[in-house]
């Protein structure tokens, strides 16, 4: 991907987003939506202008960009999603421990024993800071 394609992708997404927001915003009463309406139109115009300018610009700076790493993406988003589901099932400590342990082992920076110790220690630390010291109510879980 070059910086040119990258900017074109950005312009396209921003334009699509602006149109979607505008359609929603124009569905609300004027008195409650003139602010987002104006901004959505402005955002759309800017995106269109930026896209056109990129398209018409001389294509000399075709420096290649580093490729996207899909597995890192899946790990972060999938990991958190699984974590939250686990949180609702087995409670905070269990889910946090599992999440930390499995992710550390998968990333392979440390052996499983060290990962085990780190995961237990950090779970305990978070528990103490948030639930004991700051008195945050624990999330409800189905099993515990």
């Amino acid at each position: 991907m070059t910086t040119r394609t990258r900017d074109l992708i950005f312009a396209a997404i921003a334009l699509a987003l602006a149109v979607a927001i505008a359609i929603t915003a124009f569905g609300y009463p004027v008195a409650s939506s003139y602010f987002p309406r104006t901004l959505a139109v402005l955002m759309g115009l800017l995106a269109a202008f930026f896209g056109l300018r990129t398209l018409l610009a001389p294509t000399d700076d075709a420096a290649p960009m580093s490729p996207l790493n899909i597995s890192a993406l899946i790990a972060a988003f999938g990991g958190i999603a699984a974590y939250v589901v686990a949180l609702k099932l087995v409670g905070y400590e269990g889910a946090t421990f599992l999440f930390l342990f499995l992710l550390m082992v998968w990333l392979g920076a440390v052996g499983w024993l060290k990962a085990l110790i780190l995961a237990v220690a950090f779970t305990a630390l978070l528990n103490v800071i948030f639930f004991v010291m700051l008195g945050v109510p624990r999330p409800d879980a189905l099993l515990f």
């Binding site: 008195g135 109510p137 189905l142 099993l143």
Partner: protein
């Protein structure tokens, strides 16, 4: 899988039941959670934490405040409606906010019948306040100005869809007049705009106006209440000043409620603890210095108030939308 979860739930229910039966004699045997529908540090939270601290002595257990804030109280009130009925989860409810949320919104997942009132703690009436330099010396002068040019006099308050706005609408209806209502993000900013001269008057809660009145920056023209407020004994009620009965449904109440289904024994124990704290001289002295406007109602009186307010609200709700 579904069957498994059902079995599990049954098993868990059994465990709690089994754990509870022998405990009735000595309830409460562990700390009780008090759900508060607003974020830490706000007026409701401060009131809740103050009561929680003083009731401990009378309850024999700690009362742990749990803030479930969001959606103008809807999230916390819904959580209380669905809370455990084992007596270890109770909550603070704000009247009329809890009813306004229910009646102004769609798909609100609680009914007023989901709550079992235990005691009312606070009653904070709405007052009419003007800048100390304001030309309006009395409420009738302000009302005359509004009648001379309906909808032209700027009046600000917490809002939108707040108890303060409700009180304004009720007053406009009863006094057959119209103001230009401007919503602010709380009583504080509305008072600031009054001090800055942007508003002809504002409708803050009595407790938030108090310190500004003491400092001589604000003047209170009337209190929306059936009787004069101990905070401002020289100020007439709005009904007195206007000569027309103006219902005070906008007054903000804060009280304790349990989810419906709590056992009578537990409810009675809680009622007693809160009745005791409301007569505790230490607590009363503290509330006095902290400026908390206390008003005790027992469970029956609180329930009756809730039903009356619910019915009264029905008349005005369309005007608020």
């Amino acid at each position: 899988m579904k069957l498994f979860i059902k079995k599990l739930a049954a098993a868990l229910g059994f465990v709690t039941l089994a754990g509870m039966t022998p405990a009735i004699a000595e309830y409460p045997e562990k700390p009780i959670t008090l759900i508060v529908a607003y974020s830490p540090g706000g007026g409701t939270d401060t009131a809740a934490r103050t009561v929680a601290k003083f009731v401990e002595k009378h309850l024999g257990q700690r009362l742990v405040v749990e803030n479930k804030s969001g959606a103008g109280g809807q999230i916390g009130f819904s959580a209380l409606a669905r809370a455990n009925t084992d007596g270890y989860e109770i909550g603070f409810i704000n009247v009329p906010s809890i009813q306004l949320v229910k009646q102004l919104r769609e798909n609100v997942p609680y009914e007023m019948s989901d709550f079992a009132p235990i005691a009312n703690i606070q009653l904070d009436p709405v007052v009419v306040a003007v800048n100390a330099d304001s030309p309006y010396q009395t409420l009738s002068e302000l009302l005359d100005a509004a009648k001379a040019d309906p909808g032209a006099v700027n009046i600000g308050a917490d809002g939108p869809q707040s108890n303060n706005q409700l009180q304004l609408i009720v007053a406009e209806d009863a006094l057959a007049t119209k103001f230009n209502f401007i919503a602010f993000d709380g009583s504080g900013p509305a008072i600031k705009a009054t001090l800055g001269g942007e508003l002809a008057a504002s409708l803050p809660s009595a407790s938030s106006a108090g310190s500004h009145v003491d400092a001589g920056r604000l003047r209170v023209l009337g209190v929306f209440a059936d009787e004069r407020s101990p905070l401002f004994p020289d100020v007439p009620t709005v009904s007195e000043a206007a000569g027309v009965k103006v219902p005070s449904v906008g007054a903000s109440l804060r009280g304790i409620a349990a989810p419906k289904g709590i056992s009578d024994a537990h409810k009675a124990r809680l009622e007693k603890a809160f009745a005791d704290v409301m007569a505790d001289p230490d607590f009363l002295a503290h509330a006095e210095t902290a400026g908390l406007p206390l008003k005790y109602m027992d469970a029956a009186a609180f329930e009756a108030y809730l039903q009356e307010a619910d019915a009264a609200l029905g008349k005005y709700i369309d005007l608020m939308k």
